[in-house]
């Protein structure tokens, strides 16, 4: 085979502000999602605060944080359904997130969409479609357009290991390789596709092994170590930016919640969950920062308090929003509003 492992310096220094930024987003994401989880568990069915379920990234935030922190405004992120962090990093506010979940009048998707079916395109995110791996194909186009115009923007795109068994993922990876598109494919391997464990989805250990079949380099990283994710994705991004084509980065992690907030996930072996709980991405990063004297408990308390306040403000603000106007339901299918929908 002509392909190889994506090489990068596993000890490459990361600027201190970047480390702090990543830690901040880890905490921010976790706190928002804990809040969503809490609300979903406690709201009444008759008068819910949030509509529908939360599909959370609790325990696997480092992937989205590490990845999204490697790129800039001009770049794109065609994200998965567990990429709340990428939204925040690309400028979506906690208020927008809660409004999106509330589906109320000021929601960025006007109440037409809910929860993770989101991704404001003006921030170079791609609205998520339920059929899972589809954003990998869309990433081909954002990347191609950059290449077409001779720009050096890159596109990140992500999906779960479950989605990676879909046909569209195969087509997308091969196509990216053929046209040497500036795409970095990120696989969030969290061990489960709803209730189906990874061992029943594929018999190989690593989705990353498939990259060789497209002529791309790949690597597997600890998805709960945000610095490892950052370094690997950054290497992929740098390569892509130089015109060297796509690559695959598989991030091993674990889904610490149910598939959605409705799912108690009793099918997940306790031992697995406990093992991964000991390797929480936030604790891991905090330990790293503290033991390297880049952080202390005092600042930590302060940051957490600040984040809590931000979120409280966002939730309170979101609470004031009202249901969408019914007329919204029939608007926006076409640019020309005179085309009938009935």
């Amino acid at each position: 085979m002509t392909t190889h492992t994506l090489k990068y310096d596993e000890k490459a220094p990361i600027p201190e502000e970047k480390l702090h930024e990543m830690y901040h987003y880890l905490l921010l994401t976790r706190t928002i999602e804990n809040q969503i989880d809490y609300i979903c568990a406690n709201q009444t069915k008759a008068n819910p605060f949030l509509i529908g379920k939360g599909y959370l990234s609790i325990g696997q935030e480092a992937i989205s944080v590490g990845a999204a922190c490697t790129i800039g405004e001009k770049d794109w992120f065609a994200q998965s359904h567990r990429d709340l962090a990428a939204h925040l990093i690309r400028g979506v506010t906690p208020l927008e997130i809660f409004l999106q979940y509330r589906c109320t009048s000021r929601s960025p998707t006007q109440g037409k969409e809910g929860n993770v079916h989101f991704g404001p395109t003006d921030r170079h995110l791609i609205g998520f479609t339920s059929h899972m791996g589809q954003n990998l194909a869309i990433a081909l186009g954002t990347a191609w357009a950059s290449q077409y115009r001779g720009e050096d923007a890159v596109t990140l795109t992500a999906c779960g290991e479950g989605a990676s068994q879909q046909g569209v993922v195969h087509e997308s990876m091969n196509y990216a390789a053929v046209f040497k598109l500036p795409v970095v494919f990120i696989i969030n391997n969290n061990g489960w596709a709803i209730s189906v464990p990874v061992k029943e989805q594929m018999i190989i250990e690593d989705v990353a092994d498939r990259a060789a079949g497209y002529g791309m380099p790949a690597t597997v990283v600890d998805g709960n170590d945000v610095m490892a994710v950052y370094r690997a994705v950054k290497a992929g991004v740098d390569r892509a930016r130089k015109g060297e084509g796509p690559c695959v980065i598989e991030c091993k992690t674990f889904r610490m919640t149910g598939h959605g907030t409705h799912d108690p996930a009793t099918y997940v072996p306790k031992a697995d969950k406990e093992k991964w709980a000991k390797h929480d991405p936030i604790d891991f990063m905090k330990n790293y920062l503290i033991s390297n004297k880049l952080w202390d408990e005092d600042r930590d308390q302060k940051l957490r308090a600040e984040i809590k306040k931000t979120i409280d403000v966002a939730v309170n603000e979101a609470a004031t929003d009202v249901p969408p106007d019914p007329s919204v339901a029939v608007q926006g299918v076409w640019s020309d509003p005179s085309i009938p929908v009935e």
């Binding site: 529908g52 809910g114 079916h117 569209v168 709803i194 019914p326 009938p340 009935e342």
Partner: protein, 324 residues
Amino acid sequence: MVKMNYMEAVRDGMRQAMIKDERAYIYGEDVGFYGGVFGVTKGLFEEFGPKRVRNTPLSECAILGEAMGAALNGLRPIPEIQFADFITVAMAQLVDCIGTYRYRFGYNLPITIRMPSGGGMSIGPFHSKSLEAWFIHSPGFKIVMPSTPSDAKGLFLAAFEDPDPVLFMEHKRLYNTISEDVQEGYYTLPLGKAAVRREGNAATIVTYGGMVGLAMDAADILAKEDIAVEVIDLRTLWPLDEETVLNSIKKTNRVLMLHEAVKIGGFGGELVARVCEKAFGYLAAPPLRMGAKLTAPPVHPVLEKVFLPQVEGVVAKIKELLQY
């Protein structure tokens, strides 16, 4: 008779098929020990074991390809497409390979494809759709959309026995919301036979699946004004029980086609056109339609209410028919 809700009835249908016929097996995403994302297959894994109740990877093309090959090689597969909306990733296997095989090559494909359909649950664009119109326009399928627990079970078993591919489009909003006494053991109800759910002579509502309840509610409201609406539940969309529909229209002379699917390009248009072709002279008013708007199904209930037909709308349409 045992009281069952709609979900339990579908499950019991599957269970009876599995007990009776060794060739039956159930498979799809999450149908194993988890019992499916709605719980429809709960307990079947324990009862029939991992060979006959099997999880699959997230690979709908492979799932339907398997169904076809297994049917050709003597089995009677019962695959599940987790939400009907997701069939869009496997349309070639469904419409091109499965749907045309008998016509092209002369071999039967006894496959029952379960596809939970329909909306009204605030779960938005890709977990709410009713796509039956696509499949009526494609050769080779029988299409069942039951509205009651008894029908769900009896029609499931008829679908299972049928030598042709059947799309069994149960309505997920009905799973836990309706129950009734259901016959125990193995029984079938004929495919292609509609049910007159309520007799009346003022106007006819032709409907099926998730909209039968709404039609009955509208009929209740209208009954208070002494307007007697006949409600026909098609049960099987194809083959269509045209006779029952036409007979009713010959009596009431007024008809509303009601479905949850998008109205534009929906099955209602086919029904209207068939009625015009075969009973135009009996029509005292234009045959009308109600269905969803031509948008993606929106999430917020306020919006979804606009998207989907509502009882007031049905009542208004019937009055429109009467006042014509």
